[in-house]
């Protein structure tokens, strides 16, 4: 576990860089987080649509959605998701939205 500052506030991150406590997150941190995760900035409305969706899914279901679920339910297509969050939309968006890594598949 490490601590880092985003928007001037200290937060706890796990070994993979995800928030330990999603309640520590605030919208003001998102631009700095985006840079840390290699997400193209500035964040657009579409980015925000996905980030907000990630958080509401996390608080409702206890885990963030996978890319396939995002593509079916967030209103943003899988292709667009990869443009917004290159490499791994679910992972990057979770990191930027301050929630744990979406429960992977086993």
């Amino acid at each position: 576990m490490t601590t880092k500052h985003f928007a001037g506030i200290e937060v706890e991150l796990n070994d993979e860089g995800f928030f330990v406590d999603p309640a520590q997150w605030s919208e003001a941190m998102a631009p700095e987080l985006a840079e840390a995760w290699g997400i193209p900035t500035p964040l657009t409305d579409k980015h925000w649509q996905v980030l907000r969706f990630m958080r509401s899914e996390y608080f409702e279901k206890g885990t963030g959605p996978t890319v396939r679920k995002l593509g079916k339910t967030s209103g943003v297509t899988v292709k667009e998701l990869y443009q917004l969050f290159p490499k791994g939309p679910a992972k990057l968006a979770a990191g930027c939205a301050g929630i744990p890594k979406p429960r992977g598949c086993v």
């Binding site: 890319v67 679920k69 079916k72 899988v78 292709k79 290159p86 791994g88 598949c105 086993v106």
Partner: protein, 416 residues
């Protein structure tokens, strides 16, 4: 029980539906419990056998048996596709227009392949340069193709998770290495394994072992590739990031989802058609009288026959408690146990659960099959499993010495 008999409806007569119906039938007379089982066809495929078909190591006919013959007497078998479930009315509508009413519903309709969800996958190259071994048609066609494939690049590509038996594509790669070596053409063929995961497998310790095995066998590993399109005539995979991987022959594991009727059954499934299910009790989160077994459940365990088998005992105990009006006490720990064929008559064995990743050691105790290590014994274990499947697992017999929970006795927690 007194009064009218209760009704249990089981959706799907594959691995899970068959073993559960058979086990529950033994515990109740027909006058207390009516059991209806529904499936859309009467061909029960031993799916682990599909892996061997492309290499001529299994005869398609050998691995298929009639579904109804695997069910004990006293179970009603309905041969029809399921159209929808009404979770408020406790009814199931079948394609033949009949309606089944239930007191308890068991969903065991597994997962379906969705190749149509990937751009180009079913396009011009399908069954010409692009194949899958995940169903009988694909596996049989691929056998013909492989027999004459002499040179070029073969890619093995997982489009995205979840998939059935996540080790099967790795086994395919290992067997292909063996097969091409036997045919004397291995030096002219490049084998590339392409996965969306960040390693060869989902669990770190096993992933490292499997990656070094790929390397030893000269199989290239490409990780974090997110397939956006399969261009069969242009012979290339195109990633969502626009990167391209050329091929001469592509063996693709298509996207998986829940059975098609789930989408037409309001409230039953999630976005992918899997059923929200309690990890431990296997009761659905949908309604207390709906239970889920096997691949259809959204629990964080592998979609594997071994998982379905270990879940079976817990599920049966909990359905019986539910029928008898008692609380659900049996809990599933996520136990999975997979033989991984590595070619040249050897195999590896991994054993894990929700909490513990696959570890080295021996299974099921200090003296037993070696874990996370290639051996001939494991290969024999894999081959023997087919007979156990038809004669032990489906009829609902227990294996002496093998319990539902993951054993820890023979494992080394710290090494590797």
């Amino acid at each position: 029980m007194t009064g009218r008999p209760k009704r249990l409806v089981v959706l799907g007569a594959g691995t899970g539906g068959t073993l559960a119906a058979n086990r529950i039938r033994k515990h109740y007379p027909v006058s207390d419990l009516v059991i209806d089982v529904v499936d859309q066809n009467n061909e029960h495929v031993y799916q682990p056998g599909l892996l061997f078909v492309p290499f001529g190591l299994a005869d398609p006919e050998e691995i298929v048996r009639p579904r109804d013959r695997q069910l004990h007497s006293g179970i009603n078998y309905h041969l029809s596709a399921i159209r929808s479930v009404d979770v408020d009315a406790n009814t199931v509508l079948l394609d033949d227009e009949s309606v089944l009413t239930y007191d308890v519903l068991l969903v065991a309709t597994g997962s379906v392949l969705q190749p149509e969800e990937t751009d180009g996958l079913l396009g011009e190259g399908w069954l010409d340069t692009v194949f899958t071994f995940y169903d009988m048609e694909g596996a049989t066609a691929l056998a013909k193709k492989l027999a004459t494939f002499d040179s070029g690049r073969m890619v093995i590509n997982i489009v995205d998770m979840p998939i059935k038996c996540p080790v099967a594509p790795l086994e395919f790669a290992f067997l292909a290495d063996w097969y091409f070596t036997e045919r004397g053409v291995r030096d002219d063929i490049t084998i590339t394994y392409i996965t969306p995961l960040d390693g060869a497998f989902t669990k770190p310790t096993a992933s490292a072992t499997l990656a070094s095995l790929l390397d030893e066998k000269n199989i290239e590993l490409v990780t974090e590739f997110n397939t956006g399109e399969v261009d069969g005539s242009g012979r290339k995979l195109v990633g969502y990031d626009e990167s391209e991987i050329p091929f001469d022959l592509a063996v693709v594991v298509p996207l998986h989802g829940g059975a098609a009727y789930v989408e037409d059954s309001p409230g039953l499934g999630d976005e992918l058609g899997f059923i929200p299910t309690d990890n431990a009790t296997l009761q659905s989160a949908v309604r207390p009288n709906i239970f889920v077994l096997g691949d259809a459940a959204d629990v964080p365990a592998s979609k594997a026959g071994s998982v379905t088998h270990f879940e079976g005992e817990v599920l049966v105990a909990n359905i019986e408690s539910f029928l008898d009006g008692q609380s659900l006490e049996a809990t599933f720990d996520g136990h999975a146990n997979c033989f991984i064929e590595t070619g040249f008559s050897k195999a590896l064995l991994i054993d894990f659960n929700y909490e513990t990743e696959p570890l080295p050691g021996h299974y099921p105790g200090p003296i037993g099959l070696p874990l996370l290590k290639e051996s001939r014994l494991n290969h024999l274990g894999k081959l023997m499993f087919q007979s156990f499947y038809w004669h032990g697992l489906l009829p609902g017999r227990d294996i002496p010495g093998i319990g539902t929970d993951m054993p820890t006795a023979g494992k080394h927690p710290t090494s590797v």
